[in-house]
Amino acid sequence: MRDSLILAQRSVTKMFRKPEQFLDVTLQPIIMTVLFVFIFGGAIAGDTSNYLPFVLPGIIVQTVMFTSLTIGVNLNTDIEKGVFDRFRSLPIARSAPLFGAVLGDIVRHAIAVGVTLLFGVLIGFRFHTDPLSAVGGILLMVLFAVCLCWVSVFIGMVARTSGAVQGLSFLITFPLTFGSSTFVPASTLPSWLQGWVAINPVTHVIEALRGLLSGQHYMAAGSSLGTELLWVLGWCVALVAIFFPLAMWAYRRKV
């Protein structure tokens, strides 16, 4: 555990040394917010101030998904460059570098959520719920990110190059974010797509976050916060149960 924390510190130090790595957690959510709120917002929801409380939680979730899927790229690069060989020749737990990277990324997730929320507030977003729910929403995002990142760790271990990891991650991210209620209410989608949206974990994460930040009013009709939270926790458990062992197996095979 101590070793994992030391290695987490390493990834955080690296992060701050490479500001361009922050673009995806700072500039990207801001651009997405501007794009969707001011360009599509009027067309989708009638006016932008109506759309903002609906779409901002969606953009937060999308951002967190992108950041949680970059870990595979970073790990793949580390292994390629031989840094892991050094770690493995030290008397530390074999999995410590992996846990260190996952722990270090929590800082990225928190920054991603924080920047998007802050920008949202600057352009007029207001919390419609109590502070406790807002904090809960942020924690829920970090939890989801930590569970989802094992998918990326797994891809990072089985893909040959870091470029391939990136490509595969995008392939996964797009149907998950766009095939959900991120930008439009699910009720406007064709029924065959609604079937996918209903089971898509991202839909439930977004609905839960809408409930926690913007209030019940902005959630899909007929859904309740309690149910959505259960869905999210269920998905978190499922993601970890499936991808954590796979990732560990692939990691042990690779290094």
Binding site: I6, K14, R17, R86, S89
Partner: protein, 343 residues
């Protein structure tokens, strides 16, 4: 004497490639073993097994008294590894790299910092300690990598091709550091493609090729086996060629060979013949533009040991019939480069 490294019958296969086909290695405590071989001979695989990064398919290995498969943690506590490609974190500063590893080795913050400062001083990296290692030159990176592997004061250090890609001055720096290490009592296993390097640093040399040990000897013994050194003289005026040839015939172990229009080359058994040759050439009044004594290249070593040209580890015998004719081609090619990678 106690063995610091003791490996028997190590084999390792990657898919269709038999990287190691049964290797024995032994190093006494406080000694330097040079493992010499071309690319792909299995040097790095052997080091990775001894460093617990890979499990052997067969065979056993003990390092510092511990089995590499059954007691990897104890082995890791005793070893330092410097890889073929410097494995420092490019995005961290030299200091951060060293402190992090010190902390991972169980030092507290202050002790890790003190040890890092000590090593930065020792490796002449104090000024560069605050810069990210990405900005380091190849030689500096190699030094940082070596420093990183010494933080825990290991009793056994693996140097996997520590000077590949370095220019001669930087190479000498690394050699000096290795000598300091040995003086402190550290056991060193050094892999290299250069006989010159093994000769300069190692007390014993194991030559491997295609995953097998093909020779094990002291540098002196190995050189005897492969025909010692080669003396080369390039005359200023081609007219003096015949005279130079006569002089060299007296000191050489074979008939001198004329290469091109102005170079005479002859194998000699030691460097004692050097002053005599210089004197003889001077008294004959032969002006010389180049005078060199060099070790056989890796290529020539392999040729002498196996009767086949070393092909950088690529499989397949180059030519079945090793004739005297091809032997002279060998030295002709190697005369131009000492890389052992002729052709």
């Amino acid at each position: 004497m106690t063995k610091a490294i003791e490996a028997h019958g190590l084999t390792k296969r990657f898919g269709k490639t038999q990287a190691l086909a049964g290797i024995d290695l032994e190093v006494d405590e406080g000694r330097v073993l040079g493992v010499l071989g071309p690319n792909g001979a299995g040097k790095t695989t052997a080091v990775r097994i001894l460093a617990t990064l890979l499990r052997p398919d067969e065979g056993t290995a003990r390092v510092a008294g511990h089995d590499v498969v059954r007691e990897p943690k104890e082995v890791r506590r005793a070893i330092g590894l410097t890889g073929q490609y410097a494995s420092v974190d490019e995005d961290l500063t030299g200091l951060q790299n060293l402190v992090m590893i010190g902390r991972l080795l169980g030092l507290d913050r202050r002790a890790a910092r003190a040890r890092a400062d000590e090593l930065l001083t020792e490796f002449d990296l104090v000024d560069a300690g605050g810069r990210t290692s990405k900005t380091y030159s190849g030689g500096m990176r190699r030094r940082l990598d070596l420093a990183a592997s010494l933080i825990g004061r290991p009793s056994v250090v693996y140097l996997d091709e520590p000077t590949t890609g370095l220019d001669p001055a930087k190479r000498d720096d690394v050699w000096d550091m290795v000598r300091v290490l040995v003086k402190q009592g550290t056991t060193v296993l050094l892999t290299t493609q250069y006989l010159e390097e093994a000769d300069a640093l190692a007390e014993e040399i194991t030559v491997i090729d295609h995953g097998r040990v093909i020779a094990h000897d002291t540098p002196q013994g190995l050189k005897r086996q492969v025909g010692g050194q080669t003396l080369e003289v390039r005359v200023a005026h081609p007219a003096d060629l015949a005279t130079a040839q006569q002089v060299l015939a007296r000191v050489g172990t074979r008939e001198p060979e004329v290469i091109g229009g102005d170079l005479v080359s002859v194998p000699v058994s030691g460097d004692a013949v050097l002053p005599a040759t210089v004197q003889a050439l001077a008294s004959e009044g032969v002006p010389v533009v180049e005078f060199s004594l060099r070790l056989p290249s890796l290529d020539e070593v392999f040729y002498s040991l196996t009767g086949q040209r070393g092909q950088g580890g690529a499989s397949g015998p180059a030519s079945g019939s090793a004739s005297a004719g091809s032997a002279s081609t060998s030295s002709l090619e190697s005369a131009s480069s000492n890389e052992g990678e002729a052709v």
